[in-house]
């Protein structure tokens, strides 16, 4: 259960828990060590002019909005801040959370 100790701290376990719980870090990396990959907006008009017509392909995927969104600000500090505190909460984590509760109070 060594790894679950961090889970216990970070997962808001019930409704009474404060919504403003400060999360611990989930990795040993420091924020300044991380490189953020920023997506590249695509200029379909320029590409089409140079003989590379792609708009239709992405249009059928219905992701025009996504490309529109890409040309905007990226907040590197916030993204790093987010990343070092991020953890995956999936079925496994939920199960662990439940097991822990049971361990503390076997009546459940």
């Amino acid at each position: 259960m060594a790894s679950s100790s961090s889970m216990q701290v970070t997962v808001p376990s019930n409704q009474e828990a404060s919504a403003y719980k400060i999360k611990g870090r989930t990795m040993s990396l420091e924020e300044w060590e991380l490189n953020v990959h920023v997506e590249n907006p695509v200029d379909f008009i320029s590409l089409a002019h140079h003989g590379c017509v792609l708009r239709d392909i992405y249009h059928t995927q219905d992701i025009d909005n996504y490309f529109g969104m890409l040309n905007g600000p990226t907040y590197l500090s916030l993204v790093r801040h987010f990343w070092v505190r991020a953890q995956v909460y999936d079925r496994k984590a939920a199960k662990m959370e439940m097991d822990e509760k049971v361990l503390i109070d076997p009546k459940l």
Binding site: K21, E39, I57, G72, L76, S77, H81, Q87
Partner: protein, 368 residues
């Protein structure tokens, strides 16, 4: 048990104590695209997968797997876009894994792929890599920023304090366009044209500060410091000198052109001329009053005064068009001169104040 029922897989984190959850649904919401379509993942890169034949047919129009150089320009470009925007790899773009090739296959054959799911799964994969093998690389910087933005995090930060783009490290991604084709050597250098319609990188930075200081590093230090002092007086909040942007948002100062001409240094001759003009005006005034009270006094005008008057009127005629304008111009000029002199006098005193203020600001900054 007091536990929430498990709904879906999420990436949970927090910004300054505010919880932020990212799920497939939230990505789908942010990019305004339903989370539907085909999704194939976790394929073995070995040659046993049945996908190999299908993918090779689409990509290379062949039953065998070809090389990157055998791909058409369109496919190369799509691979590039995929490596930058959909499934960022952080290198090795010309050697796509089978998963990447299948994703590309969906695009090429116009089968709808589940883009939000692909993005979310990829994000989880890289997050786990960061946690387990210390991979120092974060994908989807822009997408995560947008999720934070739409989730109201930026608004929350705005209420807490002033945050500038410098503190947030705001950047905009490089645009893929004709010049990218040139760099990838997909078109000849001489074939590349810059179009007027070319997409420009977004200059609209975050609107974090409502009353963003209308100052920049291009302003003189006095203006900056005075503004900071004034701002502190008005709002009780400090602006750090480092936070003042290099340039006004949106590029050049709108008044930069007119400022230049106004700020042109006065030559000595002009300065002397201005002085004499003022003296002349004074003389004129005194002459008018005295002439009313005592008509004979005008006869006793000294030659000097006469000369001054002559000089002034001559200059005025030369410089201005109508008499009305002359009066206006002179009075406003006079006011300006007076202000200038006052300023010069107080500047020495202010210099000291500024020093103190600066020190204070720095101390405050250090405390924060």
């Amino acid at each position: 048990m007091g536990l929430e029922p498990f709904k879906c897989t999420e990436i949970r984190s927090s910004i300054m104590g505010i919880p932020v959850f990212i799920s497939e649904a939230s990505i789908s919401w942010v990019i305004r695209r339903a989370s539907e379509g085909k999704f194939v993942s976790g394929l073995d890169n070995g040659k046993t997968s049945s996908w190999n034949d299908i993918v090779n047919k689409t990509l290379f129009n062949n039953t065998k797997k070809g090389k990157y150089s055998e791909l058409s320009m369109k496919v190369k470009m799509m691979l590039k876009i995929q490596n930058e925007n959909f499934l960022p790899k952080g290198g090795g773009g010309d050697q796509p894994s089978l998963d990447h090739r299948v994703f590309l296959h969906f695009f090429l054959t116009k089968q709808k792929a589940n883009v939000p799911k692909y993005i979310f799964r990829h994000m989880i994969k890289t997050l786990k890599e960061s946690q387990t093998i210390k991979r120092t690389w974060i994908p989807y910087g822009r997408l995560i920023s947008e999720i934070l933005h739409q989730g109201g995090i930026l608004n929350a930060l705005k209420e807490v304090n002033y945050f500038t783009d410098a503190q947030l490290g705001t950047v905009t991604g490089k645009i893929i366009n004709g010049s990218t084709l040139k760099h990838m050597k997909l078109i000849k250098k001489e074939d590349h044209r810059v179009l007027s319609t070319d997409l420009k990188e977004s200059t609209v930075l975050s609107n974090l500060m409502d009353e963003f200081p209308p100052i920049c590093k291009k302003d003189t230090i006095e203006v900056q410091v005075m503004y900071m002092a004034d701002h502190f007086k008005r709002t009780g909040q400090t602006i750090k000198i480092n936070d003042i942007p290099e340039e006004m948002y949106g590029g050049a100062l709108p008044i930069a052109k007119s400022r230049k001409s106004k700020k042109r240094a006065m030559t000595e001759a002009e300065y002397v001329e201005d002085d004499s003009k003022q003296a002349a005006k004074k003389a004129k005034k005194s002459k008018a009053t005295t002439s009313q009270e005592n008509p004979t006094a005008s006869d006793v005008l000294t030659i000097q005064q006469e000369a001054q008057e002559l000089d002034a009127s001559e200059v005025l005629v030369k410089r201005t068009r109508s008499k009305k304008q002359v009066d206006n111009a002179q009075s406003s000029k006079k006011r300006k001169m007076a202000i200038k002199k006052l300023r010069q006098a107080s500047l020495a005193a202010e210099d000291e104040q500024e020093e103190v203020l600066k020190k204070k600001a720095l101390e405050l900054a250090a405390q924060i």
